[in-house]
């Protein structure tokens, strides 16, 4: 099968990835892309209670962001519209908009009832050199609420990762300098405050005698966020929080551990072992039963998944470790789409190459070559974090699966979630498949 796709644009073998230590560039135009910071922030800030965000952007980006937010408002996400758009227009380009921005921000602060104001810039004000940073500095002396600046230019990063890191970093300005750290207390960075308490890691930490100090950013309590600096440890659930964690370590002497979402039993055990070492305790005995639970789930999943093929595509997670889990189930992974390659990914990829050195990879910044691979390989399954094109998959006889973002499981639950997602079709999918079959029969494509 690999020989049929080796000639396809943009694929590299796992061995090549390990040699070059790079995800490589996308060789084709981009569709649909991996998002951008401005939009990512525009649907993350509405999840922060008591916040307000002023988004400085051309009408084009503002329109898209508001429309996208409308969709999120109707979703399972508990968010509210707390965005105010400053439309950056032609006059602003020519004459600058610093004074108008300052005045409008003062006005908003006087009328608003929010606890924190985010000022978010987009590509355009950054390109023309609008000094929003200076405006924010001035504003901080004039208003009582904290004002945080987030820069989100997309042309410096084709994904939303850097902007998300900037957004998390901006929280540092809110944090109070601690007199002392609360012993055996942990901040969780990169989770939803609402979901985390019911997650596996939360239970494990509490069973080991650790208290959860602050969980942020989603749904976070701003008063608790101010006190985040009092925690003894930071545990990161997202790679994007590393920048903030490093600063918190430097400013508040809080060490951090990246509990990078793993999926295979071994990697999850390693994660817990590492976290235990970091915290100075042994967490493995308390997670042994959970590990057995995942092992059992793998055995059960073998009944219907063993022998089937799957293409997986993720942008910001341990995709190679996920492939390892799928090999544990007896599946075959001909192709992996990815975009980021950290040292953890390299070690995952190296481990995976021992299982199957023939696996191909592709940079998934653009979906186009990946689509072509799916159509050529026609795997049984296609799993991605974004929105897999269910119609495209149905036409190619592929079962599309989507990793849902909430609630985001951690620990051994994360591995079990993947197996659950693969084990059953979304309700109604069979109708979509039937319709596409009929369309093909009737020549309506």
């Amino acid at each position: 099968m690999n020989s049929a796709i080796k000639d396809l644009q943009g694929t590299s073998s796992l061995c090549e990835i390990l040699e070059t230590r790079s995800a490589g560039e996308s060789s084709v135009p981009i569709f649909p892309g991996l998002g951008c910071g401005f939009f990512s922030i525009s649907h993350n800030i509405p999840a922060i209670r008591g916040a307000c965000a002023v988004m400085i952007a051309p009408a084009l980006c503002a329109y898209n962001a508001r429309l996208a937010l409308s969709r999120w408002e109707q979703s399972s996400r508990d968010i509210e519209n707390n965005l105010i758009f400053f439309l950056y227009e032609e006059d602003d380009l020519i004459h600058g908009a610093g004074e108008s921005i300052r005045q409008a921000l003062i006005d908003i602060c006087q009328r608003g009832t929010f606890k924190v104001l985010f000022v978010v810039t987009s590509c355009l004000p950054e390109i023309v050199g609008e000094d929003v940073e200076a405006v924010v500095r001035q504003l901080r002396d004039l208003v009582s609420v904290p004002v945080l600046l987030i820069k989100t230019e997309n042309f410096t990063d084709m994904t939303a990762r850097l902007s998300q890191a900037n957004a998390l970093l901006s929280f540092l300005d809110l944090m109070e300098h601690p007199r002392e750290h609360i012993q055996k207390s942990v901040n969780i960075i990169g989770s939803s405050a609402r979901d985390f308490p019911s997650s596996e890691l939360s239970s494990v930490l509490q069973e080991a005698g650790y208290s959860i100090n602050t969980v942020f950013p989603s749904g976070c309590d701003l008063d608790r966020l101010k006190k985040a600096s009092r925690a003894e440890y930071n545990v990161l659930l997202t790679r994007n929080a590393t920048l903030l964690a490093e600063k918190m370590q430097a400013e508040f002497c809080i060490p951090f551990y990246l509990f990078d979402a793993a999926y295979s039993p071994q990697a999850i055990s390693d994660n817990y072992a590492g976290l235990g070492t970091f915290l100075g305790c042994d967490l493995l005995p308390s997670v042994a039963a959970r590990k057995d639970g995942l092992t059992d789930a793998i055995q059960s999943a073998r009944d219907h998944l063993e022998g089937s093929s799957i293409i997986i595509s993720l942008s910001n997670s341990r995709v190679f470790d996920m492939a390892t889990l799928l090999y544990d189930v007896g599946m075959y992974v001909p192709l992996i789409g990815f975009n980021q390659l950290t040292t953890t990914d390299l070690s995952d990829a190296s481990r995976l190459s021992c299982r199957d050195s023939e696996i191909l990879t592709i940079n998934n910044l653009s979906i186009s070559p990946l689509d072509e691979c799916i159509a050529t390989i026609r795997p049984n399954y296609y799993l991605s974090f974004g929105n897999p094109d269910a119609i495209f998959c149905a036409r190619n006889g592929v079962r599309a699966r989507r990793l849902v973002s909430r609630p985001h499981p951690n620990g051994f639950d994360a591995g079990r979630r993947i197996l659950e997602i693969l084990s059953k079709d979304k309700p109604g999918l069979s109708t979509l498949v039937l319709r596409e079959q009929m369309r093909e029969k009737a020549g309506i494509l």
Binding site: G35, F39, L60, N64
Partner: protein, 425 residues
């Protein structure tokens, strides 16, 4: 700098252009900019009409170096790749805000690359800074007609045939309204040749001259219709059939333009079937005479709904709020014939709220954001795009034509009964 707190920021000419061009099956849009804009443009397109546009739009993906150096290499590579892979008839090259601001010569680049590709390259350099949403639809449509309407000789068929100029993918209730228009045309024995621009291939554009008449359903398409008339001698009829009286008038005008007899019996049968009247649907305990409406919609829809509310229902419209100034300068007079004196254009969120607060309408027609900001109005009916909270894929809920009148009348009565407080004021 404009501040938008609750409403929808304006969709500029960029969206008008992109959404018009995306709807042409053998055209691919290249957005020259950072990829995020395109990522969310395709998402907002999907939010509006739940359609996939895989393979119909790409971003050239410029980065910091391209911007600093003013490089055109990514754009050229993108155009060549799309031409080779998809063989489209046209590639629309649309500048995003950032590439427009740095002054990259999109027109010149297209001119330079044109000889290397088989697709026709159509550049749009404005980046969303050259006008309104409707002007973007207008310029996108005009560019398509300019490029593909090559054979300008009119060769007509034996039976009366029309083109429909107007629908784009985001037009509110498009599926149902245009199905109803087709149904009425079918009853008249009139064939539909090309529907432009939505779903119209470039060969469909080329065949426009083979119809007898162009039916223009949106005023933003009038410049295109006028241009076609000037080069092909093909006449047009402008108007959207809405309401009982409005649809009868439209059929009368259409018959005259096509030189076919006015179908008296067909009209009689239709009116007999669909002209539900409020007195028969509301009971004695449902006083409705005091109902009044505010209509926030594009011109044709606002005009058609005004006609239904005032002429057919016999109720009042206190204000009409238009997103953009209509092409005809006498638009206020058109509403004045229905006794509507307040017609405002492109108003701010605050002004909109003031109007609702002072007029206290029973009935509000508008897009999702209008309805959201007018939560105090008891009966709120979607009547304009965008509607991210409403799917209108099914073609059996028209507002246009005879059946549209019937559907809206039934809807009004049902909504009123569901909000009995409207009878108590």
């Amino acid at each position: 700098m404009k501040v938008i707190a609750e409403g929808l920021p304006e969709a500029t000419d960029y969206f008008g252009i992109v959404r018009t061009l995306i709807d042409i099956p053998d055209c691919i849009v290249v957005e020259h900019g950072a990829p995020g804009t395109m990522t969310y443009t395709q998402l907002s397109y999907n939010t509006i009409n739940r359609e996939r546009i895989h393979g119909r739009i790409f971003s050239s993906g410029v980065d910091e170096t391209d911007i600093v150096m003013g490089s055109d290499s990514r754009l050229i590579r993108t155009i060549l790749w799309i031409d080779e892979k998809y063989h489209p008839s046209a590639i629309a090259v649309v500048a995003s805000a950032i590439t427009a601001v740095i002054g990259l010569d999109v027109v010149g680049i297209c001119h330079k690359v044109q000889s290397q590709v088989s697709a026709r390259l159509i550049p749009f350099p404005s980046g969303g800074f050259s006008g309104t949403y409707f002007s973007g639809i207008e310029s996108g449509s005009r560019a398509l007609v300019d490029t593909f309407l090559v054979d300008r000789k009119v060769s007509r068929s034996d039976s009366p045939t029309v083109n429909i100029l107007g629908p784009t993918g985001d037009v509110f209730n498009r599926a149902s309204d245009y199905e109803e228009i087709r149904r009425i045309l079918g009853l008249l024995g009139v064939q539909v040749n090309t529907v432009f621009p939505r779903g119209c291939s470039t060969s469909g554009i080329a065949s426009i001259p083979s119809a007898d008449l162009n039916l223009v359903t949106r005023d933003l398409m009038l410049p295109v219709a006028t241009y076609i008339r000037d080069i092909c001698g093909q006449e047009y009829l402008y108007g959207l059939p809405m309401g009982i009286r409005g649809t009868i008038q439209w059929i009368r005008d259409l018959s005259a333009h096509l030189d076919i007899p006015y179908p008296e019996m067909m009209v009689a049968r239709e009116v007999a079937s669909w002209a539900y009247a409020l007195p028969e649907l509301f009971g004695r305990v449902h006083p409705y005479e005091q109902f009044s409406a505010v209509i926030a919609a594009p011109f044709e829809y606002a005009y058609g709904l005004s006609r239904i509310v005032t002429e057919d229902w016999g109720l009042q419209v206190s204000s009409v709020l238009l997103p953009e100034k209509p092409r005809s300068s006498s638009y206020s007079d058109a509403f004045a014939t229905f006794g509507i004196s307040r017609v405002e254009v492109d108003l701010s969120d605050n002004r909109y709220r003031d109007i609702l607060r002072t007029e206290k309408p029973t009935l509000l027609f508008g897009n999702t954001y209008h309805l959201k900001m007018g939560k105090q109005v008891p009966i709120r009916i979607h009547a304009a795009s965008p509607t991210p909270d409403l799917i209108t894929l099914f073609d059996g809920t028209p507002y246009a034509g005879f059946r549209g009148y019937a559907y809206l009348t039934q809807r009004l009565v049902n909504e009123a009964i569901a909000h009995p407080e409207v009878f108590r004021t």
